[in-house]
């Protein structure tokens, strides 16, 4: 674990990472990869922001129109108190220029998100969920988690927490285009700049204060009432509030001078879509010596694979023949690395029986083997994993949401849900500020958002990081402890319930049931 306190590094990641990182993790379309393609879309921008109208300041500039940025825009557009705001969205991704046509018969994209019930209800509140439902999506109500030592396994069922579902797996492009469709339903005043942010200034140097009554926007900027953004296509614009939703390598975060804390896991994730001969309805996760492998249902007999492994292994698995890869996946999800956990609940289960009370052992709580993978249905992508947390999310006129504020281990697919949580919390707090006539760039307002989300995000980050560490050591006694923890989680119903509740996005610490 090389722990670094870094003020952001110049992007040196390689091509594959460029293509895959954000789409999977959470925060919207890859800006850097799309930069080259951006110029052709400049002319086609729907609102055609010209150099002449840029003196009219915006209320909010959202830098990064990925899933999280668009979730914020969608929430603002559908809230009575915020729907009048003038919003600029700055993103060079082609997904914002021409909405991609999503065909039902295409195999699912490997970039998917597991959205929690909390996120689903946010989407329903804004009216975007109806668009998700028009595309492929897969609810799951069961989850089985086990490990290679064969000592423990646990099954979660939505009914344990009186819920219909544990989550829903949706392709990122579906989430993104649903949010966009919902915004287009409204008469929200948004301007999309198909460009990249090159500079941001919040506090002009004192010597440059020039009071000139002919340019009120300039004067407001000079007094720190507006932020000024300059774009790669030569446009510049002013806004009362700049929202950085531009991903893990956030330009806004760097320009605002927010420091970050974080470390790299010496792990890569390989993601792809696979096909079964039968439909998969359960989410599966198995902890292997090098990291977890997850199999998530995505509908129509397809599943999504997220396989965490050593960087060397990942490049091997990316390049091996398809048949060999499918074999390796089936091996990893079945007998590979160790036998199945005992399907009967004897043995160590006995030592927990006193904790179970009179909860009946249900038939569906026995160990199951995931459905076999028959075919690879997409390209394989690999990207490195890291944990990063911005020390601050907000200062005067700048606020970070989503991956720009925090990236987590993709263990439980929580990254994007934390991002959506940020977006909706920020939208609500902006509405609260407007209700009492505040300037929405005021730091006191934005700090309310920071306080609320930091707690939620850091708790989840600590849980996921702890899980990752617990599983990165293969050491006999620890394996047994881990297995005991598994059994504990499986058999102590209230604990299990609160773990699911937390994983499904409810704001409660897991141990304070």
């Amino acid at each position: 674990m090389n722990r670094v306190i870094a003020r952001k590094v110049v992007p040196t990641y390689h091509q594959i990472f460029k293509l895959s990182r954000k789409q999977f993790c959470s925060d919207g379309a890859a800006k850097s990869s799309a930069a080259a393609a951006s110029s052709q879309f400049n002319q086609e921008s729907d609102a055609n922001p010209s150099l002449t109208d840029n003196v009219q300041p915006y209320d909010i500039a959202i830098v990064g129109g990925g899933m999280v940025g668009m979730a914020l825009a969608c929430s603002l557009a559908t809230t009575p108190l915020t729907k009048h705001l003038r919003v600029a969205i700055i993103d060079s991704s082609p997904a914002l220029a021409n909405k991609p046509c999503i065909k039902r018969e295409d195999p699912p994209d490997p970039r998917v998100s597991t959205v929690t019930p909390a996120t689903i209800s946010f989407f329903k509140d804004t009216g975007a969920w109806q668009y998700v439902q028009q595309h492929r999506h897969a609810y799951f109500d069961k989850m089985q988690v086990w490990d290679y030592t064969s000592l423990g396994y646990t099954k979660y069922d939505a009914r344990d927490v009186d819920k219909e579902v544990l989550g829903c797996v949706v392709e990122n492009k579906v989430l993104h285009s649903s949010l966009l469709s919902r915004i287009e339903d409204t008469d929200f005043q948004k301007t999309i700049y198909h460009s990249r942010l090159t500079s941001m200034s919040l506090h002009p140097s004192s010597s440059s204060i020039v009071v000139d009554s002919t340019a009120p926007t300039e004067a407001s900027y000079a007094r720190g009432r507006l932020a000024k953004l300059e774009l790669s296509d030569g446009n510049s614009l002013y806004a009362k509030l700049v929202v950085g939703s531009d991903g893990g390598k956030s330009q806004v975060r760097e320009l605002a001078g927010f420091k970050t804390t974080g470390w790299k896991y010496s792990q890569n994730a390989v993601i792809c879509t696979v096909e079964h001969s039968v439909e998969n309805y359960c989410a599966w996760q198995r902890f292997l010596p090098a990291g977890p492998i997850a199999l998530l249902p995505i509908g129509d007999k397809f599943s999504n694979i997220v396989w965490t492994m050593n960087p060397e292994e990942s490049s091997d698995f990316k390049s091996v023949k398809e048949d060999d890869f499918v074999k390796a996946v089936n091996h990893a999800l079945d007998y590979g690395y160790g036998p199945h956990p005992k399907s009967s609940l004897q043995g160590s289960a006995g030592m927990f029986s006193w904790l179970r009370g009179n909860v009946a052992i249900l038939a569906n709580e026995s160990f199951e083997i995931p459905p076999k993978v028959v075919k690879l249905a997409s390209e394989r992508m690999a990207f490195p994993l890291s944990l990063m947390h911005a020390n601050e999310y907000a200062s005067k006129r700048v606020v970070l949401i989503g991956d720009a504020a925090h990236t987590v281990h993709p263990l439980a697919g929580q990254g994007v849900n934390l991002g959506f949580g940020d977006a909706f919390a920020l939208s609500r707090i902006i509405a609260e500020g407007i209700a009492v006539g505040m300037d929405i760039g005021e730091v006191s307002l934005l700090k309310k958002y920071e306080a609320e989300r930091k707690l939620a995000n850091m708790t989840m980050m600590a849980i996921l990081d702890g899980f990752q560490k617990a599983y990165s050591i293969d050491f006999g006694p620890l394996n047994i402890l881990r297995a005991a923890a598994f059994h504990g989680a499986h058999f102590i119903s209230p604990l299990k319930r609160s773990i699911i509740s937390y994983a499904s996005g409810e704001q409660r610490l897991p141990l304070f049931y």
Binding site: P80, L81, T82, H84, I209, V211, D212, S213, P216, A219, S220, R223, G224, R225, G433, I434, A435, V436, G437, M438, D439, E442, V443, S444
Partner: protein, 303 residues
């Protein structure tokens, strides 16, 4: 939150004794007042009215003056600066005003500019900390303050945002506005009446500024032991957050007295709420506890 008056007032004296030794932060925080310390009812020599448009910068002298006011303005409006407690409290008192006025004027509380079409006067506006939010909520705001410096700061700050540049700031007093026969839908005077020599006369002026059926909102500090302990002993003598003598305990009004003098000025108090400060969260909230800071909403007789 807002409570029905009579029963609450009867319990008032009981409440006072219970809170004598409470946290000093409570009132000390609120005492960073945006009101001038000067006495509003004294006849002020100057009657300077600065109209909407800022002076364009023609001479170097004015440039210098503007730069000076800009510096003061920045401190006044720095929400992390010395006025932070006031900024924190502000949204709480605005929440009360918003809900009371929306109900009284049948405005939609779910819209961004519910006060559209209302003329509101902010008496003792200070740096404009209340006037600006009212303007953003759609009101046509007139801010008056007897201290010229405050008016200049407020004017300069409000001009930087098109939404607040419509505010009319005047260096004048409520009495003078009455002489000018100005009328408003709502008259608001927050944290002013405790600095006024003749509260009854002041209330009559406020009433005279409102249209019949118009609204009046006042906030002040209760003359309770708890208020004495926190607002005067703690804030002025122990913590030195305010100059000694900023507040005279004897000039504070109890809610009963305020209701009475407003009644004599033909304003009927309809709602009253207290502000309480939580040192844990650092936030103010509306409460039934009117033992220190309280706000009252009333309507003027007629129609």
């Amino acid at each position: 939150m807002a409570l029905k008056l009579p029963s609450k007032l009867r319990n008032q004296n009981l409440q006072i004794t219970r809170y004598c030794n409470h946290h000093r932060l409570l009132a000390a925080t609120r005492l960073f007042s945006d009101r001038p310390v000067s006495n509003l009812s004294t006849t002020d020599d100057s009657k300077i009215i600065i109209k909407n448009k800022p002076q364009t910068t023609t001479s170097s002298l004015k440039q210098h003056e503007l730069a000076k006011f800009a510096a003061i303005s920045d401190t006044w409006w720095d929400s992390e600066g010395p006025f932070k407690p006031l900024h924190v409290m502000n949204s709480t008192r605005i929440a009360f005003i918003r809900s009371a006025l929306c109900r009284h004027f049948s405005k939609d509380p779910n819209c961004a500019r519910p006060f559209e079409g209302l003329k509101i006067v902010d008496v003792g506006c200070g740096g404009g900390i209340l006037s600006e939010p009212l303007a953003r909520m759609g009101a046509a705001v007139t801010g008056v303050d007897a201290v010229e410096k405050n008016i200049n700061v407020a004017r300069l700050h409000a001009d930087l945002d098109p939404e607040t540049s419509t505010i009319e700031y005047c260096c004048t007093t409520a009495e003078k506005l009455v002489e000018e026969q100005r009328k408003f839908d709502a008259v608001i005077a927050l944290e002013v009446i405790e600095h006024v020599a003749a509260p009854a006369e002041f209330c009559k002026s406020l009433a005279a500024l409102a249209y019949p059926g118009g609204a009046t909102v006042l906030s002040t500090i209760n003359r309770s032991m708890k208020a004495y302990a926190t607002a005067i002993v703690a804030a002025e003598y122990l913590l030195h957050w305010l100059p000694k003598g900023t507040h005279q305990w004897s000039s504070f009004l109890t809610p009963e007295e305020l209701v009475l003098i407003l009644q004599r000025a033909s304003i009927n108090v309809k709602e009253m709420a207290g502000f309480v400060y939580s040192p844990l969260t650092g936030r103010w909230s509306l409460s039934d506890d009117i033992s220190v800071n309280f706000i009252a909403f009333g309507t003027k007789d007629g129609q």
